[in-house]
Amino acid sequence: MPGFVESREEHGEKTVVIEPARLVEACEHLRGDGFNFLSDVSAVDYLGWGERGVAGYIGTAGGRDLNRPGSQGLERLPGPKPKRFAMNYHLLAIPDGRRARVQVWLDEDEPVPSVVPVWPTADWHEREAYDLMGIRIEGHPNLTRILLEDDWEGHPLRKDYPIGGEPVRFSGEE
């Protein structure tokens, strides 16, 4: 597999990490392998990962025995992530039914090549990743904003973009 970095499997899902530069080759290899359906392209921003403390209860598989209060649940502390952004391409092979995830790690301004030549459906998904996360896609035929207005500034789904909205006013106040 061109550009292969590592692969892992958890929760029954296989993830393959690929270098950004050789993404298109890897995708063509996978499409030749039977993964003819691109299900989803998701961008994730890991800014501030693992920095804030977490609180709350931890669930267990199959329930916890109330008569043994010391029984512990599943926990895994968040490990460090290689770079700030991850682009995940979820693939499916029709009719076999195999699923895979291709993961690409990107820095702040690092571009990622477009997979539109491999799967035409990636067109709008990549535009959405650009619009909401600000990830630059190289070679995309029509990289413009899709969900927000054309003159919007900023990329809302980034972790350093505030949620916006306005403070709630109550009717009793002056």
């Binding site: 958890e10 929760h11 299900s39 977490v54 916890r64 709008w124």
Partner: protein, 421 residues
């Protein structure tokens, strides 16, 4: 799982360089016969706030560009700010016609990350409500699609059955739409006793209702003219464009997640997957009609099984994730503490990422959830089938007339809430 052997058209009709919009061909650019029309966001026939900028040469559509985003709500950003428990209210509103399926996919993602086991009764009830929701979604689709093509009376018949389904939903969950009934671990409350007889009445009535709908339009000359041979999409193009659900099955690919990658208890019920090979609007319509019948069968089987499970628990027993029953709050200190902690801080979901898919009435609905081990989602992304279906508009619209555009966009069964999220 077969892929159609018969080719509807030769080669691929996916436009290039931009696969999702038709560009006006060279010879017509600057021509005086070219008219650019805006099918604005407020239009009675565009199924919500979809804007299509269409270039017309006479009656033929030569250029098409879809503009979406008029309903962008920022779901994903909002969900990152709420606890996992509170965030379940958000996915329902994404695809507001199949609200149970949206809830289902998110709750399945949480349970997959937690590794939580759900009791049988909850699984079967979830399946029953999801299938009722599928019928609901197809009914609203049929009512509005027929309305746009001029068959106005279908609307009233479809909404009559739709009200029956919503009555059932209200009986079980307390509200008609956006029920918030699925929790991480099972259902919010037990199934009320009056549900089974009323649901059975509906299951007995529904096939006759579908027969009525088919009697209304199947032999109608106008309907046949407006839907047969319109909006062709071949199987290869459909897969390349990421189509799923009825659009893919109407193009000849027998792919249904309920059969191929069963979730809930779909491998324990009997139903068929309707597949037609012509890839036009008529086939998509037939797939929807047949799916309504099949869903009614599934609901009947679920009811049989649920009645046997009377008295069983409807939610998992893990008190660190699931709220304790209200009676216990009066007597047990630990229950009070659990309740308080779950409601205020929320339960922690272990670190990881999952991608869960479900067969929504529109196709493959996916939820990609990333957790950092805390009580709030780090990232939730919904793969909306309507978003992808709109990408196929340009391919379906090659050599189409303007009146066909309404039929084609209607047959792709898009819900704009899902497209824009």
């Amino acid at each position: 799982m077969a892929i159609a052997e018969r080719k509807i058209y030769e080669g691929t009709r996916v436009p290039s360089p931009i696969p999702t919009s038709l560009l006006v061909p060279e010879e017509l650019q600057g021509s005086e016969d070219l008219l650019q029309v805006n099918f604005g966001p407020n239009h009675p026939s565009t199924h919500g706030v979809l804007r299509l900028v269409v270039d017309l040469h006479g009656e033929t559509v030569v250029g098409l560009r879809a503009v979406v985003g008029y309903l962008h709500t920022g779901f994903e950003k909002n969900m990152e700010a709420k606890t996992w428990w509170k965030a379940i209210t958000y996915p329902e509103r994404i695809d507001y016609l199949s609200f149970q399926n949206n809830e289902l996919v998110f709750v399945l993602a949480i349970e997959k990350l937690l590794g939580l086991e759900v009791p049988q009764k909850a699984t079967w009830m979830r399946m029953c409500l999801s299938e009722l929701n599928r019928i609901h979604s197809h009914l609203v689709w049929l009512g509005t699609a027929a309305l746009e093509l001029g068959a106005i009376s279908m609307f009233w018949y479809c909404f009559r059955e739709r009200d029956q389904i919503l009555d059932l939903s209200e009986m079980v969950t307390g509200t008609r739409m956006h029920t918030r009934y699925f929790q991480a671990g099972g259902l919010a409350e037990d199934i009320p006793r009056g549900f089974y007889p009323d649901a059975r009445k509906f299951v007995d009535w529904m096939p006759r209702a579908v027969d009525d709908y088919e009697a209304l339009v199947d032999q109608n000359e106008i309907w046949l003219e407006r839907t047969k041979g319109i909006g062709l999409l071949s199987a290869d193009d459909a897969i390349a464009l990421g189509q799923s659900g009825p659009v893919l099955r109407a193009s000849g690919v027998e792919w249904d997640l309920r059969k191929a990658q069963p979730y809930l208890a779909y491998d324990e019920v009997e139903f068929n997957v309707p597949t037609y090979g012509n890839g036009d609007v008529w086939d998509r319509y037939k797939v929807h009609m047949d799916e309504m019948r099949e869903s009614t069968r599934i609901v009947g089987q679920c009811l049989d099984r649920l009645e046997e499970m009377e008295g069983e628990p409807w939610i998992a027993d893990d008190r660190k994730v699931v709220l304790p029953p209200r009676e216990e709050l009066q007597t047990s200190m630990e229950s009070l503490i659990h309740h308080f902690k779950i409601v205020t801080e929320g339960y922690r979901v272990p670190e990881g990422e999952v991608y869960v898919t479900v067969e929504s009435p529109r196709g493959e609905l996916g939820c990609y959830a990333v957790s950092d081990g805390g009580p709030r989602p780090w990232r939730v992304k919904f793969r909306a089938p309507s978003f992808v279906a709109l990408e196929a508009t340009a391919t379906c619209m090659s050599d189409a007339l303007i009146a066909d555009m309404i039929a084609i966009v209607g047959s792709l069964d898009t819900v704009m809430g899902e497209v824009d999220r």
